[in-house]
């Protein structure tokens, strides 16, 4: 009895394939129309979906009775993986990405219920359970891959941010500049300190400008990190000029009881540069016959 019914699912799907695909695609397009259709190639989407549908049909043929467990290298898993990775990179929201297969489930259910198989309650329940099982697995898979892709992206970005965001610039003979950009945490603070000390040693610098214009939040912990960097630089005999503290930042720091009196502070990088040049006995003057 069951075998006959299961066989029906595969065959039924084969017979209905075009109609299901059409209903499915129009459902998808109506949902994605607003945000994503410009990034999705409709023809490619059709092709992909037809392939997926075909794979699902094969699944029903191959596993007529037992519940299907996805194996990592099966064709359908590979297909879903590439699909979900692509969606994640295209900036789909997770809900919209999983909607892709959930919509298929909806379409299949609707068509099944309209079919004459609906008269046989047992057969219908079996069919629905099978479809439900497969689609649910695929949904979970899509979500998993989506998160994986996003996490990889975030890891890559934070790594490149870490690499990019701690340059030590040689501004003039014996004058270094460290533009701090982004959130300062322990790891970044240590890296900044290391690079600054290396650069001080390398260029025999006597002045270092620490520009915090790009640091969004100045709190006790950030200030603590910066103070350590300053103390370390001073131990190598360099003077530190701090620039770019905003009025709000200054208010916060003083209210938190942070003491920056050991460093020279200037409002802007411009003033900081002038100050540090003075510390090495230089000055910027206007050229009379400038071109």
């Amino acid at each position: 009895m069951t075998e006959a019914v299961d066989f029906n699912v595969a065959r039924w799907l084969e017979a209905q394939q075009e109609a299901v695909l059409d209903a499915w695609m129009s459902d998808i397009v109506s949902r994605w129309k607003k945000n994503y259709l410009h990034v999705v190639d409709t023809e490619h989407l059709h092709l992909q979906s037809r392939q997926l549908l075909e794979e699902i049909r094969k699944l029903f043929v191959e596993n007529p009775n037992e519940f299907w467990e996805p194996t990592p290298d099966s064709k359908i898993v590979v297909l879903i993986r590439s699909l979900s990775t692509q969606r994640a990179k295209q900036g789909f929201k997770p809900a919209d990405s999983t909607f892709y297969v959930l919509s298929l489930k909806r379409v299949l259910w609707r068509r099944l219920l309209q079919d004459r198989i609906a008269e046989n309650k047992v057969a219908l329940a079996t069919c629905l359970a099978m479809i439900e099982n497969v689609i649910d697995r695929l949904t979970l898979l899509i979500y998993e891959v989506y998160v994986e892709t996003r996490e990889r992206l975030i890891a890559q970005q934070s790594l490149s941010l870490l690499e990019l965001s701690t340059p030590v610039v040689r501004l003039w003979d014996r004058v270094l500049m460290v533009p701090l950009i982004g959130v300062m945490d322990t790891q970044r603070a240590r890296q900044t300190t290391e690079r600054l000390l290396e650069a001080i040693a390398k260029y025999e610098a006597t002045v270092a400008i620490l520009d915090v214009t790009g640091v969004p939040v100045l709190d006790t912990s950030v200030a603590g990190h910066i103070m350590k960097t300053i103390a370390a630089a001073q131990m190598l005999g360099a003077r530190v000029v701090m620039t770019g503290i905003s009025p709000d930042g200054a208010q916060t720091l003083v209210k938190l009881g942070v003491d920056f009196s050991v460093v020279t502070t200037r409002a802007t990088l411009r003033a900081g540069v002038a100050e540090s040049l003075l510390l090495v006995g230089k000055r910027i003057v206007a050229v009379k016959d400038a071109p």
Binding site: S246, D248, Q251, T265, A267, T268, R270, A271, L278, I284
Partner: protein
């Protein structure tokens, strides 16, 4: 009421002439800091000749404001403190430590100009790139 903040070249001049509520003092602090940042002032004078009573909150706020102003690159002088006020503040153990103080405005400006002349950015004239 808001305390007027006057610009005198690179220096900002403020004079507190009435007793302020706590909220007004905080407003004053914010105003002063933003004014300094706006024109990249190199000096700030806080003139308190007219103040006959300075409570601990007021004293602390003046001290804090001075520290904040220094943090964003302005030299600060508090001037014109009345002898009685100074006495009270010392007795309270809340002296305006860490801030330069002078007896009157004249001396305050002189002190400030001297400090500014020693700074690296005193050679910078008006911001040529400013739009």
């Amino acid at each position: 009421m808001r305390i007027p903040i006057l610009r005198l070249g690179d220096i900002l001049l403020t004079s507190i002439q009435v007793d302020l509520t706590d909220a007004e003092v905080m407003q004053f602090q914010t105003d002063v800091l933003h004014a300094i940042a706006d024109i990249e002032a190199r000096g700030l004078v806080i003139e308190i000749t007219a103040l006959e009573v300075v409570d601990s909150f007021m004293a602390r706020t003046i001290n804090d404001t001075a520290n904040m102003a220094q943090m964003i690159g302005a030299e600060v002088v508090v001037c014109g403190m009345r002898p009685a006020v100074a006495l009270t503040l010392i007795e309270m153990g809340r002296g305006l430590i860490g801030v330069e103080t002078t007896f009157n405005l004249n001396e305050g400006l002189a002190r400030l100009n001297k400090k500014i002349a020693q700074r690296g950015d005193s050679s910078l004239t008006d911001d040529e790139d400013a739009v």
